[in-house]
Structure formats: C-alpha cells, structure tokens
C-alpha cells in the first residue's frame, strides 16, 4: 500500500516534456449512432512549443470540443492527440499537472474572494502564489485592488483577468483559452491580447479559440475551423496571401439596393457587407469593368481595390 502511494505520488508530479501539441485525425461524435452529431470530423494540426496558435471558427464549429479533448475532459471518439508528448487518453494525469485551461464560461467560485480563488487554485497544484507571482504579476496587479471582493461580483473584464491568473498560477507549459474575448469590450480585448503576447515571451505555448476574425491577425498561426473540419492552417499573412482572386470594396448611399444589384451580376462570385463597404469577389474582369457595369445599371458607386483579410479568406474557404 505504501509502495503504491509512492508510485501514485510520482505519477502525480509528472510534468510535460515541452509545450508541443499534436492532433491527429481527431473525431468526436456526440449522441447515439443513429442520430449522431459530428462535432469534429478528423482534425490534424501541430503546435510548436512557445507558439501563439489561434483556432478561428464560428459558433458550433467544434472549438470547445477540441479544447475539452486536449485538456483531457472529453474522450475523443477516434484519433490521437498529444500534449507535451503525453497522450490525452492514457497520460491524462501528467497533462492535468501542467496545462492551464480557461473555459469559455466563467467558472471560478463566485462565493470566494479574488484572493481565495487564486490561493485555492495555487494550492491544489501544489504551489503557492508567491512561487509563480512573477508570471501573473502584470495581470494580477490590475485586480489586486479587489482582492477581497467575491469573484461573482467582479465585472466581465475583471473576471476574465482572474480566470487567466488562476489558469497561470501553476506555471503551465501549455495554456488553453476557450473564447477568452467573447463578451468582452474592445479595450479589454486589446489588453487581453497584449497579455497573451507577454505570456508567449515567457515560453508558454498558447492555444486560443475565438469567433472574431479580426483577432486572427494577432496569432502567430491560425487554424480555420468550420463544421468540425479544418479549412486551412497557416500564418495570418500566409492565409491572406493565398486569397487568389480580385477583391473590391464598393459603397454608395443606398447600400441595400447596391448589394442586390452586385449579387445579380454574373461576373460577381460573392458580395457581402463588410463595414461601411460591400466586399465583392470577382470571377473575371477588373475594377474598371465593375465600375462600368454599375454605371450601365444606373447605380453610382465608389469602387476601390481591397486587401483581403482573414474574414474574406474564411468566407472564401467556407464556400469551397
């Protein structure tokens, strides 16, 4: 019995070798075989140690399922995944020792104070706040004035900072952030990404999922996820560079009739609202041709060439 305890203890302390994450043919099916929902249909990707990796996809793409598999909360239906060289099914205990997970929903104890929550998560990882204070200092300093306030009474941005502090307090090798910026205001979002960049500098591998395309540019590499399938993995620049068609931005005072008109042209592959412009993807022809076409239809509009962003690429990939 005593001997067994020692083995369990040593198993308990096992740490990850590195921050490498690899996912191979991961399939996740929910429900009974006859009415199954395919949340993930064969996902493959690798994340290098110390990388800031983004998983971009709309709601229901399978982001949370993927994160729950990688954090050993969910058993995949098929495929293999490794975090830091450990298998998520067999060596889950080692993974739990040294990954940080911040679920999409705030899930700290609302009836414990900020300081108590942090101390609690530090102790259950067999560490203390002071031991890893340097890692969370930047973030924790911002919520320090509220250290005696109950976590449930914090504002959204504060909750998020506390959750991040709690996920980091044991100095994880890999940090999983599931939609950390959903429901957070623009300023806090920017601050949050700034924090991630600093954490990356500490050598922590970060996997972050988000439904916001504009955040993709802040990652080193992104994976585009849609309906449980991977649409593409590349650097943000690489993804936008792969957009091989002409993209135009069009606007006038009557945006709705303009969009209808644009969609009716046969040379237009796709037209969709984008900020104060409509983005138009052309099958053939040039900027000039479209301008002439609009004039012929009796519609005055400003037409300029646009630089494709991640969202444009995503729309394009989704269609094909």
């Amino acid at each position: 019995m005593f001997f067994k305890t020692i083995i369990m203890q040593s198993g308990n302390r096992r740490q990850l070798n590195n921050g490498h994450v690899s996912v191979a043919d991961i399939v996740m099916t929910y429900g009974k075989p006859n009415a199954a929902v395919q949340a993930l249909q064969g996902i493959n990707f690798e994340v290098k140690p110390g990388e800031l990796f983004g998983i971009i996809g709309p709601d229901g793409a399978g982001k949370t399922s993927l994160f729950r598999i990688l954090t050993t909360l969910l058993l995949p239906t098929g495929g293999r995944a490794e975090v830091g060289g450990f298998d998520v099914v067999k060596d889950y205990q080692a993974i739990r020792n040294s990954v940080g997970y911040m679920p999409g929903r705030f899930s700290l104890y609302p009836d414990l104070t900020v300081a108590e929550n942090l101390a609690f998560f530090a102790t259950i990882f067999n560490t203390s706040i002071s031991e890893n204070y340097d890692l969370i200092k930047d973030i924790y300093l911002q919520i320090e004035p509220f250290r005696n306030r109950r976590a449930g009474q914090l504002s959204g941005g504060m909750k998020q900072k506390l959750a991040l502090s709690c996920a980091l307090i044991h100095r994880p090798s890999v940090l999983f952030l599931d939609e950390p910026t959903t429901g957070v205001d623009a300023v806090s979002r920017r601050e949050f990404w700034e924090m991630l960049r600093r954490l990356k500098a500490q050598g922590i591998t970060i996997l972050v999922s988000t439904p916001y395309m504009d955040e993709a540019g802040l990652c080193e590499r992104v994976a585009l996820l849609q309906n449980g399938r991977m649409l593409g993995i590349d650097t943000p620049a690489g993804i936008t560079a792969s957009f091989g068609k002409l993209l135009l931005a069009v606007r006038n005072e009557n945006m709705l009739p303009l969009l209808k008109l644009l969609k009716s042209f046969e040379e237009v592959e796709e037209a969709y609202p984008f900020g104060e412009y409509h983005h138009v993807v052309l099958k053939q022809g040039s900027e000039k041709d479209l301008r002439a076409r609009l004039k012929a239809a009796g519609m005055e509009a400003e037409v300029i060439t646009a630089v494709p962003g991640i969202e444009d690429c995503f729309m394009d990939l989704m269609k094909n």
């Binding site: 308990n12 954090t71 050993t72 909360l73 969910l74 058993l75 889950y92 205990q93 739990r96 020792n97 990954v99 997970y101 679920p103 929903r105 705030f106 899930s107 700290l108 104890y109 609302p110 009836d111 414990l112 108590e116 609690f120 998560f121 102790t123 259950i124 990882f125 067999n126 709690c166």
Partner: protein, 372 residues
C-alpha cells in the same frame, strides 16, 4: 493530504458564507423539531357526533352526556331523524351517527338489553375505526353502570370475568412525542446528509467549476472526500442540536448512551452521503437533483416506520423497508432513546447500515467520472 485540507477549507468557507445554507441547516431543523411533533399527533380527537334520540328518556340523556364528557367527541348535531343526521354526514358536519331507539330505556330496564345503532363516515379510516371503538367502549361502560344500578347481583359471578391490567414499558405515559421526536430528527439528518451534499456537488456542475477542478491534478477520492466530510460533520452537528432541542423542549433524555447514538449516526451518515453522491452523479442541474430528492424522501418517510408501524405492513412492503436505510436509524433512535439499548443490541442494525454505506459509496465512486 495537503490538497484535501485545502479542499475542506474551501468547502467550509463556502458553506458558512451562504446565508441560505445556514438557514436551511440550522433554522429549519429547529422549526421542524419544535412544530411538527406538536402538530402531528396520532390520537384522534374532536370526532363530530350527530345524535338521533327517539327516546328522550333519562337514560338516553345520561348516555349522551357521558359521551360528550369523554373529551373525544363533539356533539355537533342533535337530529330528529336518521335522514337528517345522514345529511349532516354528507355535508361533512358529522363523522359519526348514534341512533337510540324510542324504547331504549324501557328495553334496557326490562329486557336487560337495548340495541343502539352507530353509522360511521369511513372516508378517514383511522378516524372511523378509532371513533367507533371509543364510542363502543363508552356505551359498554354505560351498560355496566346501568346493570349495576338495577340488578341484584348474585353472590357469585355466574360468568368468570378476565380482567386485563396493562403496564406500558419504556414510555409509561404513552407520550406520543417521545416516539416522534427521535424519528423526525432522523429524517432531518438524512436530508442534510444526502440532499444538501447532492445539491452542493450538482451546483459545481451547474456553474462549471467542476470543469475547472477536473483539469487539475486533484484526484477523484480527494474531491469526493472534500465533499463528503463537511456534510458528515454538519450531519453530526444537526444531530447534536436536535438532541439538545429534544431535551430542552420535550424533556427527552436518551435512556441509552449518547455514544451509541453518535456511533450509529456516524456510520449512517456515510450511507446517506453515498446516496447524495449517487444522486449528484446522475443529475446535471440542481432542479433535477431536487426532484429526485423529493421523491426519495417521500419513500424514506412513508416506508421508514416514522408514522406507520412497519409490523402492520404487508410482507412485500416489509422487504422494501429493509432496503430503506432510514428505517434502521429510526428504529435505533427509538431503541436507544426510549429503551436504553446499548451497542450490543443495535449490532445487527449497525452491520446493515455499514453494508448500505459500502454499497452506495462504491456505486457512487464508480459512476463519478472526471471526464465524459
């Protein structure tokens, strides 16, 4: 061990910070223990009686006076006919009809016997059977009285009469509360032990904190012990408060040793905590857990021998009672508090409860998953 200590610290902090839980744990039991035994009473009183007296004689008046003086009956209607009295029963103004024939006095004196008629509203079975039994014994008593007045008794009683004298052991005054308070206390401990623990765990599921806990190296046994120990302690605290109330309010001082009670309670709480754990691993929301608890507590109370005697149940129901851990503790409480039974006498119960504790906890631990 260190992890467990911090889990416990967190758990107690949360419990003592939640005013609702404190109220449920400390105020409700006190209220229930003080109010319920006073209100819930086996004795049937206030039976409403309608009398149809066709005789209007001295004897009939005497009988009626004797009945209303007994304290069990309320003379609500003095009807002229049986039909009128039945109307009173139909409109729920009377539970019992007593009809005295017009020749009541004459027959009683001359024939030495007089028939009376009794009609009972048997919707409430207990009230009907007890009410008619009370009335019958009063009439019999009256009969004796009249016979004594009129008859020259022979020198020797022609028929041998067996007279029964009884003495009530363990509860000499047959105080109903001595019997009920220990039982209600058991129900309270059961509710705290199993259902509060279940709700507490399901709450962690509901607010998502269990997810966060599951990604940590906390082991299954640590998490489960961290949940069970606080409610085990609370259960024993409730038992102490309950015993104190029983002593102060009802003057019930256990005849047996407190050690026996606490020993049994300590094991019993393990069993009910196992039930709580089991409920929590099969439910996702506090609402579901609540409804299941509600259903279970009904079964526990009705098949636990708290209100109804187990010995008068049909055989199949008695087997079900054997599967109800609550019935064991109720019996043990009554044995120790009233009879003064010691550890030796409750050994069988203790072993059964130990088996329950092992069974429920094993099942619960096996069904609890840190991941899906």
């Amino acid at each position: 061990m260190r992890t467990l200590r911090f889990l416990l610290q967190k758990e107690f902090r949360q419990i003592f910070r939640d005013p609702a839980i404190l109220r449920i744990i400390f105020v409700m039991p006190v209220m229930q223990l003080v109010l319920l035994p006073m209100a819930a009473d086996y004795e049937v009183k206030n039976i409403r009686l309608a009398v149809v007296d066709h005789d209007h004689s001295v004897y009939s008046q005497q009988l009626i006076r004797k009945i209303s003086a007994s304290g069990y009956f309320l003379l609500t209607r003095y009807a002229a006919s049986y039909q009128e009295a039945m109307k009173a029963v139909e409109s729920d103004a009377a539970d019992l009809v007593l009809e005295l024939p017009s020749s009541f006095e004459k027959d009683l004196v001359k024939e030495e016997e007089a028939p009376v008629f009794m009609a009972v509203n048997a919707i409430n079975g207990v009230k009907a059977s007890l009410g008619s039994a009370y009335l019958r014994s009063i009439v019999q008593d009256f009969n004796q009285q009249v016979r004594a007045e009129w008859l020259q008794l022979p020198r020797f009683n022609p028929e041998p009469v067996v007279q029964v004298t009884s003495s009530n052991w363990y509860n000499p005054l047959m105080n109903y509360r001595y019997f009920m308070v220990p039982g209600i206390l058991v129900i309270l401990i059961t509710m705290i032990g199993s259902f509060l623990a279940a709700l507490n765990i399901v709450r962690e599921k509901e607010i998502g904190t269990i997810e966060q806990i599951n990604v940590t190296p906390i082991r299954k046994y640590q998490f489960i012990l961290g949940k069970l120990i606080p409610f085990w302690v609370l259960g024993l605290a409730i038992l102490s408060i309950g015993l104190l109330i029983a002593r102060i309010v009802y003057g019930i001082i256990p005849a047996g040793s407190l050690f026996t009670i606490y020993l049994f309670a300590a094991v019993y709480l393990l069993a009910v905590l196992g039930i709580g754990l089991l409920i929590s691993s099969y439910t996702q929301t506090q609402q579901q857990a609540m409804l299941i608890s509600f259903f279970l507590i009904m079964v526990f109370i009705l098949l636990g021998g708290l209100y109804t005697s187990v010995d008068s149940m049909p055989q199949w129901a008695r087997y079900l009672v054997k599967l109800n851990p609550v019935s064991y503790f109720i019996e043990v409480m009554r044995m120790v508090v009233l009879k003064g039974s010691g550890t030796g006498e409750i050994k069988g119960h203790l072993i059964s409860i130990l088996a329950f504790a092992l069974f429920f906890n094993t099942w619960a631990v096996l069904s609890y998953r840190k991941r899906s």
